[in-house]
């Protein structure tokens, strides 16, 4: 077992799958010589050559669109979009083409395609780069949307994604890329989609998050513990498929819940979580479910992003209110 960062865990997953199956190839901006702007694919072009590690022209729509054709031709593309905000250039190819091929072709052309992209703020990147737009893809049914928050999940979920017979959007928590290391097995393993992870056990309230927001929930839970509030932190890990059972089980246990995400509040995926919980666990709730999210404005200038993003202080406040309701 090695102690890996998220970046290293992702690289290990890709490396393993490329060694295992020669149909696996990667394509995207600067993935070759540079090894990606975050060095995720560092060293892969030296090992596998330009045919399997392809620096594409600067055009996201064709990165995703051609991945569809590459998959139909018999390859297994792992496409990288430099920042999730730039999947918008490829939105139609991703949500409406990649996510509908099996359906449209009546099962003739299922697409084994993985699209990787970093997401999230807190690193002072310019406009568009940090946008948390995950919910937009959930609204395009038939594409899986998965969001690991730690090195172990990053490796296991990426291998799962590459082997999945259906398209997977694999969203990486940019802020946590190199923040801390964790034990990651050397061998290949998979973390199944649709199984949430209890990141911290608790009794009084459930904090639900995904991607880098899990870390915010963990900080909040630590602070709440000092006040005698025992918070459970649930990392959803995948939005599609959604682990409704684990969400319900936790809320039935605690009776209270706060949902946290980096996307602006209105119509964020938190709304889906809350709606599902009130359908499935209404009679177990002791207080209304709260949401802590970014505000409903465009992403602010870097100097102000930390006021805008959900902070652990805001989560603590919301949790206190919920517990005292």
């Amino acid at each position: 077992m090695a102690q890996l960062t998220i970046i290293e865990a992702i690289r290990a997953a890709i490396l393993h799958e490329m060694e295992e199956d020669e149909r696996v190839m990667i394509l995207g901006l600067d993935v070759g010589r540079l090894g990606g702007v975050f060095r995720t694919t560092d060293g892969l072009i030296e090992k596998f050559g330009r045919k399997r590690v392809f620096d594409t022209p600067l055009a996201e729509a064709s990165i995703i669109g051609s991945s569809i054709g590459l998959a139909i031709s018999g390859l297994i593309p792992v496409a990288e979009i430099q920042f999730l905000g730039f999947t918008h250039q490829a939105f139609h190819q991703l949500g409406q083409q990649l996510g509908r091929y099996r359906y449209r072709s009546r099962g003739r052309f299922p697409l084994q395609v993985t699209v990787r992209a970093p997401m999230g703020g807190g690193t002072k990147t310019p406009e568009f780069h940090p946008d948390a737009i995950e919910a937009q893809f959930v609204q395009s049914p038939a594409i899986k949307v998965v969001m690991p928050s730690n090195p172990y999940d990053a490796k296991g979920m990426l291998i799962e994604a590459i082997r999945d017979p259906d398209p997977v959007l694999f969203i990486e928590p940019e802020r946590l890329y190199r923040k801390g290391r964790a034990e990651v097995p050397d061998e290949a393993y998979t973390v199944p989609f649709g199984k949430a992870r209890v990141a911290r056990e608790g009794e009084h309230i459930t904090l639900i998050g995904w991607s880098a927001a899990v870390e915010v929930c963990e900080h909040a839970a630590a602070k709440l513990a000092e006040e005698g509030i025992s918070a459970e932190v649930l990392d959803l890990r995948s939005l599609v498929p959604l682990d409704i059972e684990s969400m319900v089980a936790s809320v039935v246990k605690t009776g209270r819940c706060v949902v946290v995400h980096e996307a602006p509040l209105s119509a964020g995926f938190g709304a889906e979580v809350v709606a599902t919980l009130q359908e499935e666990a209404f009679y177990s709730l002791d207080a209304p479910i709260a949401r802590v999210a970014s505000y409903d404005t465009p992403y602010p200038p870097a100097t102000m992003e930390n006021l805008w993003l959900p902070s652990s202080a805001r989560v603590v406040n919301a949790a206190r209110k919920t517990v005292n309701a």
Partner: protein
Amino acid sequence: MPENGVYQVLDPSGRLREGAKPVLDDEFVLEGLRWMLLSRAFDSKATALQRQGRFGVFSPVIGQEASVVGSAMAFEPRTDWLVPQYRELPAYLMWGFPLVKHILNLSGNPVAGRIPDDLKMLPTQVSLAAQLPHAVGLAWGLQIQGKEGVVVTYFGEGSSSEGDFHESCNLAGVTGAPIVFFLQNNQWAISTPRSFQSAARYFADRAAGYGFPGRVVDGNDLLAVYEVTKEAVDRARRGEGPTLIESITYRMSFHNTTDNPSRYQDPKDLEEARARDPIERIEAYLRERGMWSDEKAKEYRAVAAQEIEDALVEAQQAPRPEPAQIFENVFAELTPRQAAQRRELLGE
């Protein structure tokens, strides 16, 4: 001007090419050099400050000064619109955008960095090629309303792979809008070399497919860039439609301050590029004409350094960003929910 091939007025050593006649008077060229030196000095200063953690991420112009300045000189900022990408600092300044505001934008204080209302210039933006359809719409709108003015839009060769570029050129061709597409081919899009972007001999060759002229120019030759751009501006002003200019230059520095080109760039290429430095070329030309000397060089550089120093000091005195500004200019009027969020943020 040759249809094919790279247009050049000065050879790399700054001597006039055989048969070339400079169309610019020396004072005008000196003014161009002044902007180029200011741009170069700003990039060095900003890099140093960034390395000390006193400045945000930015993309230097180094190596592309003749390309940006020579083209910008061909426009009339009073009537013509500038639609930038992000690597064209001297053009913003030539349009009248204050250096202090540029510094404020780079330091994450864009409220103070708002473009003055009397400048015909759009904000820089980093979603590559997304500004090109805006530029076409602007030019087309001027044309429809019979307003004077030509639009120039800047972008890199990498950005020209985006669909937005091709859709914009096509629309500009169809409408005959008064626009100059100024493609800076600096050989790199972060680590991706020019040859990975397009199999075409020249990016400008694509113009034929959109039904308007494409021109290729040595982007390190201030005089050549000016001439080629001026011709395109004149065409547009006469109502003859768009031009695509490919300015062949070299990014002599990192992509931005987070980049490390030694991972992908052959040091020999960089050395060769340095030998074609656009500033040295125009300095040599002016020296030959008795317009430039070591003293002048020193004087111009000192003036540039002072101008930058003053802007940095002024930037420090600008009002700091206020949390309430997160909610400014979202809409003319906030929605009730936004207003409630604003109160929450401000603890009201």
